[in-house]
């Protein structure tokens, strides 16, 4: 069983009174094996976040199937062993850091939360600010807290949307190390990112999405045999755009 299975996914967003429409996904199919780190690349508006949201039941597909650990993504039980870091997350600002994690842990139905919350605050390096309110945190600290909440349930599948946004180089290094550590533990990681070097370093397999269509998919070694990932990415996107122009 694959950790993530997406088959022929279609999604169109409509404007007011259906006067305008944006085809966010046009028949995307992707599968991610268990224990793999999978990178989803694409320029802004490629459909990466839409794909992730459909996987998590935050948005709904018009057509196609999305499975998480073999369960339909619309089933809340599919998210029992899944952790998620949204791109622009807003943790409850009025709560202290530890209480924000405690609240989100309760939503997993977790009973023994205190030790897990403490462990994660230590892991992301903000344990000394456990009693500070989220609104007092810098962007980087919020991102660290966001990563901590994604790990609350010790997930089998971790979905990260731009995990290194707002982080300084040290923070980025910490995230990279954390991802490799999670991979060693057998966690499946699905990352969406703009930072190609980041993806190249940690991912086993990569897919490039552009305007709702998958341009390519393969292992990092396969894609970077002759060129760097950045070159492959730019070439594919420009090629797709010139085809559209024609």
């Amino acid at each position: 069983m694959n950790a993530i299975e997406v088959r022929d996914l279609h999604k169109t967003y409509y404007g007011f009174l259906r006067r305008s429409k944006i085809e966010a996904l046009k028949g995307v199919s992707v599968s991610v094996k268990q224990g793999e780190i999978f990178g989803l690349l694409g320029p802004n508006g490629a459909g990466k976040t839409t794909l992730i949201k459909i996987l998590l039941g935050i948005a709904f597909a018009d057509r196609g199937k999305a499975l998480l650990l073999g369960r339909d993504s619309r089933d809340p039980r599919a998210r029992l062993h899944v952790g998620y870091l949204p791109e622009d997350h807003q943790l409850p600002e009025y709560l202290k850091a530890w209480r924000a994690l405690d609240f989100l842990a309760k939503l997993y139905g977790m009973h023994k939360r205190r030790s897990r919350v403490e462990e994660l605050l230590q892991l992301v390096g903000i344990a000394e600010r456990r009693n500070s309110k989220v609104k007092e945190f810098s962007k980087g600290m919020r991102q660290r807290l966001g990563i901590a909440q994604a790990l609350l349930n010790n997930p089998k599948v971790l979905i990260l949307d731009e995990p290194t946004a707002n982080l300084d180089p040290l923070g980025r290094k910490d995230v990279k190390d954390l991802l490799l550590h999670l991979k060693d533990q057998g966690t499946t990681v699905f990352i969406s990112s703009h930072v190609l070097t980041e993806i190249e370093r940690v991912c086993d397999r990569v897919a490039i999405l552009h305007k709702g269509q998958l341009l390519t998919e393969g292992t990092v070694d396969e894609l970077t045999r002759e060129k760097s990932l950045e070159d492959v990415f730019v070439e594919l996107i420009r090629g797709a755009e010139s085809l559209e122009t024609v």
């Binding site: 949201k53 935050i58 009025y94 997993y108 139905g109 979905i159």
Partner: protein
Amino acid sequence: MNRALIFSAIIEDSWRESWARRASLVVSLIALALLLLFAFGVGVRLDEAQPDLVRVSLFGVELRVQTVFKATFADAVELVALGLLNPWGIFLGLFITIGLFSGMFVRGRIDLVLSKPIARWELYLARYLGGVVLVGVTTMLFCLGVWFLLWLKIRYTDLGLIWASLVLVFLFAVLYSFAALLALVTEGTGAALVATIVLWGLTEFAYARDILRPLSPILGSIADALYYLLPKTNDLEIVTARLIGAEQLLTEASSEVASVGFAFGTSGLFALVMLALGIFVFSRKDY
């Protein structure tokens, strides 16, 4: 899944958010100020010759009416308390809780919650209940305070005000079910609040059906339809007045309730339909 833990977590979060926004603090301070005003501003002296009568003073100045019956004094105090709670308390409650409700559905925040293994109906219902609990507890504490002060001042023990406060919480819950649906659809608080006040006004308009029917059959039919479809706000107000034993203070025409069961039944049904609609819309909404 442990539903009780999830529900209690979301209800507790509503509570914490309202305190953080200072909304609950302001409401609690207003309630406390009113209770202190009653405690220290209204003096009551028992008439030694006739134990059923009391002399009332406001800030040390005795009222012109030399003595009143204990029960009349208690009815008047309870009626003032109910008059403050309905409509002002309910309006304030709606203003605060609609903001709390729509705050949960902001993009970025809703993503975090929806990515957890909870069903959308659970989230919607728990957030709705959070608002009802918040207003319910505040209302109950205020009424308990008034009741306790009445007991201290005149040894009044009737629990009518406490029961009446439960009816007001029910009335709030009915209106809030509509406000929550509007807050979800419009993704804001302003339109939801205005629409809820308009609905409240329409429920009062529907009571004029007997007057409207002879004037205009169409208006009469509209008022009739509204009467059967909308919550019975006026009937519930009369029920609260009856519970505190103050129906004699209402005019004869306004003290008629078609049926208490009908008033509660149709109002409750309205709330259930609004909640079901809200859950239906929320379960299909993309974020």
